[in-house]
């Protein structure tokens, strides 16, 4: 035990861990070229160990400590060393403060890593949204309208959607069996007269559209578009049919993209008809109510709504260099009675109800010919810790620096005087 204690309080361990950190950060940066940001993040920084896989580039070592492991060890080392050596003296105050700040920063990052949630609120001018959407996760949603203003939603998270999974929910009058789940897929229109193979199903969009799996992408500027084939059974076990739900069919922008792609070969009018078939709502009647089903980006509902009033996209005169992006939005919060307008622009986010809204993307909506805006919505309960940590460390370092500097100057004056 004392041996362990000695190791965990030693400076040698600190130096070794820092050395490993340097190498890890370097390799984790290089890895982003091949694995993409999110892939490299998960494998190198949000892990305990990095293991070499077949086909890895030369620089990947057989085994290497991951970010979590090094972070935790550094935290333990730091804390243990402080418990052992802590003494309050002016001389040590700087060092103590610095290390306290670093502990704060490490903990803050850990909290952020565990609890932060990022999503996108994407809308066009004039549109009102009361939810934001995830960029990476999906959900299988069953919706049925209760009255004109409200609807009942049963959303099944992506994590449960696996080949062969059987899903039940007390609110749903049927059972869902996932026949196949493709993490990434592509649609193909079943042109009449040309397709002889039977469709996946005679229900809903599958009549007109085929889907097939494609490899998962890890690139930062691409995203996976999953598709699932579902078999639904009623309460007494009777078969309700097979349905295909796809990320391609749930998003207006995606459908617009499909339409534009087809417009090149079949003309704008036919392409619109084809695209409409992809976006057609899929409804199922069970237990006397109609349920609409979609595979959509996971939604985070808010107790307030946001309306996009106006987008601004300026460039410098005579050039394409972007100068200013901004969205003017209105917040309607029935709980607080708020109904106010606010502007979100680069480097000036809106902080509201524990969420932060950042100007992220900007574009135009082809159909309505109005501006589109994407706001990044972040919920991060630990967002203040880096601010606090930074201030504490900076004070500590400055203290240490000037304490030694003044000591050093005094010493030199003394030697100069005696010389």
């Amino acid at each position: 035990m004392t041996y362990l204690w000695k190791i965990f309080t030693s400076l040698r361990l600190t130096v070794i861990l820092l050395g490993f950190c340097v190498v890890l950060v370097f390799l984790g940066t290089l890895a982003q070229i091949d694995e993409g940001l999110y892939g490299a993040l998960a494998r190198w920084f949000r892990s305990y160990f990095v293991l070499r896989r077949a086909g890895d580039p030369l620089y990947v070592p057989p085994i290497f400590p991951g970010g979590y492991l090094l972070g935790i060890l550094l935290l333990v080392n730091l804390t243990a060393a402080h418990i052992k050596r802590f003494k309050f003296t002016w001389r040590q105050a700087g060092i103590n403060l610095t290390h306290t700040g670093i502990i704060l920063l490490l903990l803050g990052q850990l909290i952020t890593d565990q609890f932060a949630q990022e999503s996108i609120l994407s809308f066009r001018e004039g549109e009102t949204r009361h939810f934001s959407e995830a960029t990476q996760q999906w959900e299988l949603a069953f919706v049925h309208p209760l009255d004109e203003r409200q609807e009942q939603v049963v959303a099944i998270p992506e994590a449960l959607l696996r080949d062969g999974a059987e899903l039940r929910d007390p609110k749903l009058p049927f059972t869902i069996r996932v026949r196949t789940w493709w993490i990434n897929s592509e649609p193909a229109f079943r042109a009449p007269m040309q397709q002889t193979d039977p469709p996946i199903s005679e229900n809903g969009i599958a009549k007109d559209w085929d889907f097939h799996a494609i490899p998962e992408t890890k690139k930062m500027d691409e995203r996976n578009n999953p598709t699932a084939i579902l078999e639904l059974a009623g309460a007494k076990g009777e078969v309700l049919g097979t349905w295909v739900v796809s990320a391609w069919a749930s998003d207006a922008m995606m459908i617009q993209g499909v339409r534009n792609a087809y417009a090149r070969t079949v003309g704008a009018d036919s392409a619109q008809t084809i695209a409409d078939k992809l976006g057609a709502p899929q409804e199922l009647e069970a237990g006397g109510v109609k349920w609409r089903m979609t595979l959509r980006a996971a939604r985070f509902y808010k107790p307030f709504s946001v309306t996009l009033l106006k987008t601004t996209h300026d460039t410098y005169p005579g050039s394409e260099i972007p100068k200013d992006f901004r969205s003017r939005i209105r917040i309607d919060n029935p709980d607080t009675g708020e109904k106010r307008e606010v502007e979100v622009y680069m480097n000036s986010p809106l902080r509201y109800e524990g969420l932060t809204f950042y100007q992220s993307t900007m574009g135009r909506d082809d159909v309505k010919d109005v501006g589109r805006s994407g706001l990044q919505v972040v919920k991060n309960p630990g967002w203040l810790t880096p601010y606090a940590g930074c201030i504490v460390v900076a004070i500590g370092m400055l203290w240490q620096f000037f304490y030694h500097l003044t000591g050093f100057i005094q010493k030199r004056r003394l030697t100069a005087a005696t010389a």
């Binding site: 040698r12 130096v15 950190c21 950060v25 993040l41 972007p322 680069m346 601010y387 930074c390």
Partner: protein
């Protein structure tokens, strides 16, 4: 007398520097090149004098700020060299002559082959094998366009050197055509007369167009004449040349009053507007007078038109005129080039001082004085740029190099003030010279004062995060170069006596503490900026990681020393590796082509970076050799 050397040397150099801080003058009987070069235009989204436009265009085309019109001659045969502004005057007002100038630099043999250009230098045929004129390129432009289209379809990272050369030449061709259509249609013969004729065709042409629309009989010839001109002007506009025509200040048709900065127009747009009933403004008239006078070779008429135009601008565009003039003076002042000269002189003085430190103290003092002058010149350049841009000092890679140099000079002088042993001055000189050299090479990429993209458009964060992190780079480099000094002096010379060695040890330690503080605070501030603009404090972006590695490495050095794991030489070796780490963060991560901070893949720089890293590793290897092989320590042991 000898004691006065520092003062005298510095005074002479100061006079040399100060003499160049003034606006260039024109000879009265000649074309007013300098005065024309001070006229403001908008290009790359910013106001600049024609002088800057000319320099940056030439840099892009041939990597020089001036034009050697007899490039086949050796430099001792006194080839005729004209200034960038003179070249731009030819380009815009006498394109026939400009087309014979060898302004396109082409090195890739396959590209020369594609363009059917002569491969080798041949002075008798007036060829240098590297620079070519528009006339030489023109017959094969179609082939170039085809190759450029093919290359453009490829991702930038996957283009081979030939395809890159094609793209570079193609963008040069675009730039060239743009410049030739900035003031007049490139095929104009006597532009002022043609403009006058155009003004007379507007009324009949418009009447004809109205009649045609109404289905009545119309004057076909009048309509065609007007349309021919309008098509020319439209072609000018399509090329997107710089904006040279200021708007008439006041309310426009829609009743919006606009400020002087917005709505500058291209010449083509302004000419089209005349057909819609706007009176031709001072810019249109005066530029036309200049063009015709220049082509006809009448300096008097040209200079009068330039003066008239300046007077017309002075009323509403006083500020832009002032800025353009100031930038032109800055271009001629060349503070960073002058700084390099000063640092070489100072560095030589300081190194000579080491030959006989006991006797030649005056050389060390001279070095300190000259470095102080260099610092003043460097600072003036830095401030001048800040005022021109209205920005904190660091806005791009180029200005980061300038600022790192500035930080190094100050750190070196502080060390010199404490130890007075020449080490600090040498560090100032070596670091400043190297960073200015790097900056010079970065400036070859074009405009160094380009506008900031929306996300970077925040003076607060540029002034805090960027400045502090850049000072962190400075300090890490200073520590690394101190360590190099230790090893080189210790290994190769007898100059590293125990006192100097000890002082170097203290310097490296102190500077590393400073570097840790600045790189840490700078990195965290960067995180806070990211939190403000993207919603995450830390995103493991390549540049962020680079900065983190510097912090970790500096922290590692300090902990290793506190723990007694390394002594003097170990500390030196670690500090040298700090150079590699910093160079990686500064340049290397930009080369990966990933992340938010990637400013494009820089292939040439990649090999330099690799070479630099190799030299640093070699120095570390040298530093690890046993002490009995070191000249300084061997002597100490023997005595």
């Amino acid at each position: 007398m000898i004691q006065r050397i520092p003062f005298l040397l510095t005074a002479i150099l100061a006079v040399w520097v100060a003499g160049s801080i003034r606006a260039p003058k024109d000879k009265p009987a000649d074309f007013a090149v300098a005065e024309w070069g001070r006229l403001p235009v908008v290009y790359n989204g910013r106001f600049q004098p024609l002088d800057s436009l000319a320099r940056n265009s030439l840099l892009q085309l041939r990597e020089k700020q001036s034009l050697n019109t007899e490039s086949w001659k050796g430099s001792f045969d006194k080839p005729k060299i004209i200034s960038a502004t003179e070249w731009l005057m030819e380009m815009t007002m006498n394109p026939k002559v400009a087309d014979t100038r060898t302004v396109f630099r082409i090195d890739h043999p396959d590209l020369k082959g594609l363009m059917k250009l002569p491969m080798d230098a041949d002075a008798s045929a007036q060829l240098d094998g590297k620079h070519f004129s528009w006339i030489q390129l023109q017959p094969r432009l179609k082939e170039l366009q085809d190759e450029a289209k093919r290359s453009a379809a490829k991702n930038e990272k996957h283009r081979n050197p030939f395809e890159k050369a094609v793209m570079h030449l193609w963008s040069g061709v675009g730039l060239y055509m743009r410049m030739q259509n900035m003031i007049q249609p490139q095929n104009a013969q006597d532009w002022n007369a043609e403009l006058g004729h155009y003004l007379t065709t507007i009324e009949p042409g418009r009447a004809a167009a109205i009649a045609q629309n109404a289905g009545k009989e119309y004057d076909k010839q009048a309509l065609e004449e007007l349309m021919r001109d309008l098509q020319r002007f439209d072609a000018m506009t399509q090329l997107e040349p710089p904006l040279v025509v200021p708007p008439a200040v006041g309310a426009d048709h829609a009743g919006h009053t606009h400020t002087a900065d917005e709505k500058w127009q291209r010449m083509g747009e302004a000419l089209m507007q005349i057909a819609r009933g706007e009176p031709p403004g001072a810019a249109v008239n005066n530029y036309a007078r200049m063009a015709s006078a220049y082509k006809a070779g009448i300096p008097g008429a040209f200079n009068e038109a330039v003066r008239d135009f300046r007077v017309s601008l002075n009323a509403n565009y006083h500020r832009q005129l002032g800025k353009a003039g100031s930038e032109q003076v800055f271009n001629f002042y060349e503070p960073f080039y002058k700084g390099m000269v000063l640092f070489v002189i100072a560095g030589l003085c300081a190194i000579s001082f080491w030959a006989r430190p006991a006797k030649w103290e005056v050389l060390r003092r001279a070095a300190v004085w000259v470095v102080l002058l260099g610092l003043a010149v460097h600072t003036s350049g830095l401030l001048w740029r800040m005022i021109l841009e209205g920005r904190p000092p660091v806005t791009n890679l180029y200005s980061s190099a300038i600022f790192i140099g500035w930080g190094c000079i100050i750190l070196g002088l502080v060390l010199e003030a404490f130890w007075k042993n020449g080490v600090g001055v040498v560090i100032s000189c070596v670091c400043a010279f190297s960073t200015l050299l790097i900056a010079h090479h970065l400036s070859l990429a074009g405009d160094t004062m380009e506008m900031m993209r929306a996300v970077l458009d925040t003076n607060f964060w540029l002034a805090t995060h960027v400045v502090i992190i850049t000072l962190g780079y400075s300090a890490t480099f200073v520590a690394g170069f101190l360590a190099i000094l230790y090893i080189v002096r210790g290994f190769f010379t007898r100059g590293l006596d125990p006192a100097t060695a000890k002082s170097l040890g203290k310097m490296v330690y102190g500077i590393t503490c400073f570097a840790t503080l600045f790189s840490f605070v700078g990195t965290v501030l960067g995180g806070i900026w990211a939190d403000q603009s993207w919603g995450r404090f830390w995103g493991w972006d390549a540049k962020e990681n680079g900065a983190l590695i510097i912090v970790l490495w500096n922290a590692l050095i300090l902990h290793a020393r506190w723990g007694g794991l390394v002594r003097e030489r170990g500390l030196m070796n670690m500090a040298i590796f700090g150079n590699v780490v910093t160079a990686w963060s500064w340049f290397g991560v930009n080369m990966l082509g990933i992340g938010l901070h990637s400013y494009g893949f820089m292939e040439a720089a990649f090999w330099w970076l690799l070479g630099f890293a190799a030299t640093q590793v070699a120095l570390i290897a040298l530093g690890s050799l046993p002490t009995q092989w070191w000249r300084s320590f061997r002597n100490a042991a023997a005595s």
